[in-house]
Symmetry: C3
Subunit: 336 residues, 3 copies
Amino acid sequence: MLETTLAVIGEQFGLTVVGDGQVRITGISALDEAGPEDLTFLFSAKYQSRLVDCKAGAVVVSPKFADALTGPGLIAEQPRLAWAKIAVIFDVSEAWPNIHPTAQIHETAELAEGVSIGPNTVVRAGAVLSAGVSLGSGVVVGENVGIGAGSQVHANVVLYHQVQIGRACIIHANAVIGADGFGFEFDPETGTLVKIPQVYGVTIGNNCELGAGTTIDRGALTDTEIGDGVKIDNQVQIGHGSKIGANTVISGATAIAGSTRIGRSCMIGGAVGIIDNLVIADRVEITAMSLVTQSITQSGRYSSGTGLMPSRQWKRNVVLFRKLDDLYKRLRKLET
Amino acid sequence: MLETTLAVIGEQFGLTVVGDGQVRITGISALDEAGPEDLTFLFSAKYQSRLVDCKAGAVVVSPKFADALTGPGLIAEQPRLAWAKIAVIFDVSEAWPNIHPTAQIHETAELAEGVSIGPNTVVRAGAVLSAGVSLGSGVVVGENVGIGAGSQVHANVVLYHQVQIGRACIIHANAVIGADGFGFEFDPETGTLVKIPQVYGVTIGNNCELGAGTTIDRGALTDTEIGDGVKIDNQVQIGHGSKIGANTVISGATAIAGSTRIGRSCMIGGAVGIIDNLVIADRVEITAMSLVTQSITQSGRYSSGTGLMPSRQWKRNVVLFRKLDDLYKRLRKLET
Amino acid sequence: MLETTLAVIGEQFGLTVVGDGQVRITGISALDEAGPEDLTFLFSAKYQSRLVDCKAGAVVVSPKFADALTGPGLIAEQPRLAWAKIAVIFDVSEAWPNIHPTAQIHETAELAEGVSIGPNTVVRAGAVLSAGVSLGSGVVVGENVGIGAGSQVHANVVLYHQVQIGRACIIHANAVIGADGFGFEFDPETGTLVKIPQVYGVTIGNNCELGAGTTIDRGALTDTEIGDGVKIDNQVQIGHGSKIGANTVISGATAIAGSTRIGRSCMIGGAVGIIDNLVIADRVEITAMSLVTQSITQSGRYSSGTGLMPSRQWKRNVVLFRKLDDLYKRLRKLET
């Protein structure tokens, strides 16, 4: 367990200390749960009243709440950004210290300096692991896969052949990158669906994070592409040949079908559905569980669905939704 | 294959035998599919007519259907509960008999009596496995993970560091517990999203079941907590810092965002979406594929969405849904 | 990299060559991205205008677009079907060449000729692998599992005991077949949910494809059954005891609850939800993200949900959706 003081943290991150800088800090915690050795954070005016009962050793606040501090604190222009930076010192890494003897590494794979690999991980022919790459246990790195410097791949991730991962990426456990896209064509002669081979790969940019259980399929006629800085949560599905613009954020359980192009700096989801072959502009926000069936040309915030209501009331309204056409006709008749 | 008789089952579970107790029973099966050596169950009056053609060796019925039996049977106050209990004798376990020589167990890990571990499973430093814990093959148990007595963890599950699992839990294959929560903060200086380290863990209570491919993220400022007796189906996603009350049941493909508190004995899903930072009361039922965007303070049944209809009709009504505002205005005009 | 010529491809697949048959072909690509050694495809009249700027070495077109060719090409009655067939020659397999020494194969498992198995894969007692079966690394084949001739199982897939897979199937990475179905019964005596043992298995037909991260649960009173030729995309969840008819196609992130019977040649999803105990007819199409809560007896195309709209407009309409009942009453009053 790390032990430090408020003053040390303030100095390290360039934040002004208020009150006793010698207060001992051993962790961070939520406003309601923090104890006397925890640093906590005030993110919003709506939680200001909680400062009174707060038991934290110190609180990080923005300048306008400096006067509201009832004990030691740090002043940060952006408390959430300060949180992101300070939390690093309390974080734990499980990277393996070197290359585990049970790892199966093909003789043609290239491993740069400082690569660490966990037990039972398989690195296949032609794979290239750049400096400082860290692979967990049970990972599969397919043929000719490339992984950029400093990227971390957690346990049991599967990277199919030809997948290219950029620098400083994090891929969480059990993600699958580069499985076959979903494509079939009906053959009238045999009456069956013929598989369309998915002969392209997946390209992931730099500084991306991909969540646990996320799947990104390989392309059929072009690579599937994830831009730099894209953050993808758990259990997201991205279809073959789709392109995600830089710095877009995709929340959990979202499904994006094939050949759709999403712009830069979008905020998608969670649990959003986006059908295939659409084009979505930059800076588009799609609220949770919306379905996108048409291209979006204007940045902005979009939604679909009905609000939640008691099921009895909902059942009546669902019936009436089905009759909207009738309702409109009757209204029009009254108007004339 | 197990062989027994109706009389033996009746005695073991305290159920009254009707007719020939010597009928041989080698399995259980559905009412429509049962053969002469199968035990089957009548769960509801609406299936009573199927008793006539039923080929089962014997049928478990509630007392009010005792007269409807056309052959041997068992009388149970609650046939579904009797089913749950009787089926145990026909169940098969694949637990490994001991600790497989290919398992990688850190010297500081503590293993109590009767722990069994499959091939290629990795148990890292400081992990504590209580009595009778059973791990499948390819499992990863991270640093300082604790697993309570009698819990079963199936193949290729990944438990990140610090995750705590209670007693008598079942975790199905490829679930991921404790991957990083999804949190980033925009840094205007660099124009990039900065990762917020997720320094807390996940705590799972006793008697929980977690489905295949389910992901439960670790917390950033507090643990993610799953209460005792919670049952979670496959491919459920639970965000960082959420708290699920005891005995709540969450069906497949549901996604719950971070920092949401769900009460006790709720029934959620499947395929429900619940956004972040909500509070849901006890005994709330959310029907399939509903989206919850506001806290729910009253127990009861809630829904959202529209009903299914032929796509042609749906398209017209979707257009009219967009015009509801206009429709209301025109109605108001007619009324005045 | 494969090198061939347009003439060779034309002859191999019985397609008429237009123009210079000696053009060198080393790959296939999308119309917009193809280079001078790529073969590309014109799938639809709406992309015809792109032929002008197309840099492909040759284009596959249907007879009615033969005149639109501006360079070498192939004439195919069905360009998409030609694509599916031609792409095979550019496809790459990662099948392991033989049985890796780290694979753990139980002495009672039966392996036919030509079986290949990757590192760290586990084949348990009584499993039967037919001729030409290919298992990736980290796969778990449970007790008494059967896999038909020529089927491929990718890395880290888990097949629980008794699962039966047909011939010529493809199962992508991290899929889980045969985990316990989700069934519990409340025991009023203890106030807890009692697990219903899931004592049946899963049966997968011939020529099926199952996507990465897909989960198909084992049955409680009957097998879960996937018919011949069924194609299932990534992250699909199929509940216990459901039956999927032959040649049905299920797109990504769809969730189907237990005991539902889906007909033959249906098109489901993606991200569709289907509740339990329904019966869906043959040749039913369900559009993306629809929720099915009632049986469907007629083939046809079905949908649910509202269209996407700007969030501000959506919020107003959601409020009005809740008041549809009131709106109808007021309309009726005006009409009388």
